[in-house]
Symmetry: D2
Subunit: 385 residues, 4 copies
Amino acid sequence: MSLSFIPLVGLPRRSRRRCPRLHSVKASMPSVVKVGILGASGYTGAELLRLLAQHPRAEVSVLTADRSAGKEMGAVYPQFAFGAFGKSLPTLVRSEDVNWASAADLVFCCLPHATTQDIIASLPLSSGLRVVDLSADFRLRDLSSYERWYGGKHRAPVLQKEAVYGISELFRESIRDARLVANPGCYPTTAQLPLIPLLEKRLILPTDIIIDAKSGISGAGRSPTQGTLFCEVADGISAYGVASHRHMPEIEQGLTDAYGSHDPVRVSFTPHLMPMSRGILETIYVKTSSGVDADQMRKCLANRYADEPFVHVLQKGVAPPQTRHVRGSNNCVIQVMNDAISGRAIIISALDNVVKGASGQAIQNMNIMFGFPETMGLECQPTFP
Amino acid sequence: MSLSFIPLVGLPRRSRRRCPRLHSVKASMPSVVKVGILGASGYTGAELLRLLAQHPRAEVSVLTADRSAGKEMGAVYPQFAFGAFGKSLPTLVRSEDVNWASAADLVFCCLPHATTQDIIASLPLSSGLRVVDLSADFRLRDLSSYERWYGGKHRAPVLQKEAVYGISELFRESIRDARLVANPGCYPTTAQLPLIPLLEKRLILPTDIIIDAKSGISGAGRSPTQGTLFCEVADGISAYGVASHRHMPEIEQGLTDAYGSHDPVRVSFTPHLMPMSRGILETIYVKTSSGVDADQMRKCLANRYADEPFVHVLQKGVAPPQTRHVRGSNNCVIQVMNDAISGRAIIISALDNVVKGASGQAIQNMNIMFGFPETMGLECQPTFP
Amino acid sequence: MSLSFIPLVGLPRRSRRRCPRLHSVKASMPSVVKVGILGASGYTGAELLRLLAQHPRAEVSVLTADRSAGKEMGAVYPQFAFGAFGKSLPTLVRSEDVNWASAADLVFCCLPHATTQDIIASLPLSSGLRVVDLSADFRLRDLSSYERWYGGKHRAPVLQKEAVYGISELFRESIRDARLVANPGCYPTTAQLPLIPLLEKRLILPTDIIIDAKSGISGAGRSPTQGTLFCEVADGISAYGVASHRHMPEIEQGLTDAYGSHDPVRVSFTPHLMPMSRGILETIYVKTSSGVDADQMRKCLANRYADEPFVHVLQKGVAPPQTRHVRGSNNCVIQVMNDAISGRAIIISALDNVVKGASGQAIQNMNIMFGFPETMGLECQPTFP
Amino acid sequence: MSLSFIPLVGLPRRSRRRCPRLHSVKASMPSVVKVGILGASGYTGAELLRLLAQHPRAEVSVLTADRSAGKEMGAVYPQFAFGAFGKSLPTLVRSEDVNWASAADLVFCCLPHATTQDIIASLPLSSGLRVVDLSADFRLRDLSSYERWYGGKHRAPVLQKEAVYGISELFRESIRDARLVANPGCYPTTAQLPLIPLLEKRLILPTDIIIDAKSGISGAGRSPTQGTLFCEVADGISAYGVASHRHMPEIEQGLTDAYGSHDPVRVSFTPHLMPMSRGILETIYVKTSSGVDADQMRKCLANRYADEPFVHVLQKGVAPPQTRHVRGSNNCVIQVMNDAISGRAIIISALDNVVKGASGQAIQNMNIMFGFPETMGLECQPTFP
């Protein structure tokens, strides 16, 4: 399934007036995109490189990592210390030492939450540089919500207004022309891909949506903390951030939009840490609308994603998805089942938090932004065993 | 908290008429209990031995394992191939070769579900032999429910009627005098310990109780199956038995009793397989009764279990329990939190499925049955890291 | 030097007359190779598919799996139940139901050791079908050695004589024209890649070579056995097959050839099972020739593999390779260090047992056999984290 | 033979005059030992508590942790947040705030290497306080060796001279009367238990002893470092400290004493990090003395340890020990096999690095020092699965 240009043609929202930057972007559409990564020394940075290595039209031109500036990537991630691709990578530099106007066509921003606003605001977006931000800084449209959940005033409110929330399958049209894409969180992607179409079609009720989420440890990043040491997380599981995780408002924003009522949709969201490196599985408990059962929900999702290369709805009777069957791939796989209690259904949604939950979706968004086939660089099959 | 004899004295329910076998049992109360294990080659059998090694008043007199008859335990479980205790263990024999009337005072039955009824029916219970059955065969009081969930007619319905369901903390009085204790399932123990007191006190509603359960692999047993191979379960997670797991009716039976209404309490129960050997964590989503919040629920449970050595309710604000903090111990640890959606609460309950979820509770029940302090043989602290 | 090098030198076997198929093979070199997999339901079969999905000139035309015949691959490996590639795969069939002469240009044989000889002997090699055998059946040139280690007479001795041992980097020339390639074992590949050049150049002594090998569990295959259940291998390690593993004679055969003396080179080889799915790390303890130290050994290997895309020798001072840094890739990474005892050195060699140790090297050999670029389909970077 | 054996033999050091404290120690032998732990917030501190919970004659009277002073243990290790034992523990205090003369009879010192000397030197050993030091600070008799390997001058050389190296089974007599026991390293215990008797009896050669050691992650401690994060060590293995690990001189010191020649015994020692929490397995490759094979070696060790409750030599033909079969116990299990190369043998030795490799052996030494049965508090069986 390529990202065909057909829907782009003749749509009023792409008129010169509404999106004046669009045509200049198109005029400068490079045959090879020069890609920079801000904060390349984290897990999402490394994963971007793994995937970009196979992207025929992306060239990694800049890698920044303030504390590791001057080092080669192979010193930070040994898997890039050998092999033609690893050796071809630019040396890590400090962000402030880059002339962004000429260094890159697109920047993936992999910096920690709350540190990103100032840096992105300082980038020359007006010169055509485009940004996919993997942090949470531009995801919450409501600035007061941002302030409440992230503990500080938003420092780039104008940019926030422009930012496009980037679940590729759902917001493709807006992503295409965006200068700044807010790449969604891993938990929110896993939840919204099944829930948004179901709420749009009103097949499920907007109340008492319960999302029990299980994630691998890579989501916690590479900074040393006691809580993510091997001995602290191996051979055991735990809940964290109960009723207080920052991905909750992000999910609620998307579901409220989808349901389209004045009342915000609230969710019960409980993340858990699993003794595995990658993968998210969400078990979502919902109430169905009157007369609706799992079959109709499954059909709705199967139709919605029929032509999508990365979102797969399993057929009736097929065992629910396992994270290991999407590991390393950009897939999100979904199954829907009736609950034992009538009037209820269970949705199970699985993806790789580092790929479709972060770097893979970021590249998918880049492909949309630059008119490349959407699967470019993302064709690897899941790694199992 | 020892299992004091005080409640035993002078209670009418222990009158000769209602429980004639009781006095003969008491008369023959041995200072050391001779213990047999039927099906000692499985994980629950091995775990019973690990714990019994430290029980000063239990002596392992018989170990059966039909396919491994003639072998030493150390050949089946290498950890018993050395050390004084391991070397003291009797050789594995076939069940039919045991003279049960003289061989043991108590039998732990660790056979697979559905194979147990005939064997237990053939044991000389009338001669004073007592049984703790770790299989599911005697847990469901309703024979038609047994037939529906286990796929066959119950073959020992009279014994089923006599069997006492053995969550130690909740049914201690009945366990004390029982000839046959149906040791509860691991998932049902984890769920019922918090839910039964809350339903009894009507602090939560009996509707839409959602139990998202996560278990280590040992619960699947030691028989080789593709689905429990290391490569099939490592570094990934999955749901199974969605809306169709056999522990669901067992939980519903207990909750219905606790709530005490005519309408059965139904639960949504979804188990998941985790890449770890031991441990169960259940995240339970409930609706609170009007005016009730997590604090009241927590207090109710803290009061209920204040004197219990193995069930612990965490204080407000303490992070929810992790399975690794109960690993190897007989503890069940519970926390209660308000959900983000008002009128809802989240209960998190953790235990070691092989100990409190199986062999540990079986020994706790033995201690109750024989008047030993309830913690005897079960004093080991959790193993972490 | 190679398994088949000696007979190749100056022998008419490579002449036009003795090997007429060679040119016909070339003449009929397809732009797309039709690939069959015998025994596709095992881990090496699944891994071949993962890699072939990205091979632009291979088309999977036949998949056999006798016990799963009639099923789709997605029913056997859920990661192929969705996605364009998975859905494009042929249905599993019984081997005997395939018309091999027309069905495929190349067959990867992924059947268990000792079952392969009859099946390969029955294939129409004379019609141009070529075979890469991933079993051990054609690896040992000495038939009596085969009989001793595999417990039965070799049933295809003529084919055995023709088979080419397929470490791609070392025996490329012979592989190119082979009808039957014996794809090397995972442990032997890891050991021979560093040891063969060092023995050829006589930088190390041929005595007391000690290979301490550590492997992930996938090497044991997907058949259910107690010893590879999650609970039996997680959170612990063990040695097995001490001084008696079948890969020992395979390694010794290669090293003896390389050293080129009349006395066979013997090795001390001890494999260990690690709680991980993929990866082999071998720590090899050797005595150096007089005056030789790790620097010279490292240089020798760096030179030998300077132009190889998949074998990488780390620079002096770089930390030794970790299996997780080659996971999912076809790389073998090697480091050499002086031992604390003078006159000794330590070689550490790491690869992914399912890729360079099996399916990846099989595809690399296919690429050699069909004149494709050797990296085709094998360009994926390691997956870390 | 022991670190301190030679000076003990016939030397006045054990006489009443040189060791007046000895009898006063005996005179004041308490029926319950008051135990302090310096540095209780690390893994060895937590493990001491797990074991001491079951020790009937030890009472935990002081716990220090400078950075966590003022907290309860349950806040640092949640497994001690509930249960009678956990709640009975003293609050963490700063070391300098303790009046050691009255606070404890014995101190376990669990501080990091190189920080211990000053603190132990400041303790009132002359008042009868006795110390088991789990750090490496007092293990190396040769002060210049200490300086070379630990990077600084030893700051308590007189105490160092008095310290007794504490492998319980080998140096029991010296430990009994020691004021300061240097508790051995985990790797050195695993290696020396089999090697010392074999070298004493000259069954193996003192040259080219190769120790390939594999350890769980807990040995690296609880301080957050990138290298011990879950994602950095899960599902992969690696060697580290090749030919440069600090446990090498400790092993060599013991082996040199045992062999009793003027030439130091040198070993090749390579540690590896395994994706598991606990356990050490060492595969030791040795040359046998002329005419000696594995049977004689095994018999020698079986005789040496026949009466030992914690060191077990497996019988001929029994599979080599696995770390998971000693997990959580104080056992060291050993097997000896002939190598495939004649004149060589392979020894496999396994223990739990946190127990027999650290805290368990420390308690065993305490038992020796205070005249308790050596198994007291250490009777728990291995935890498997």
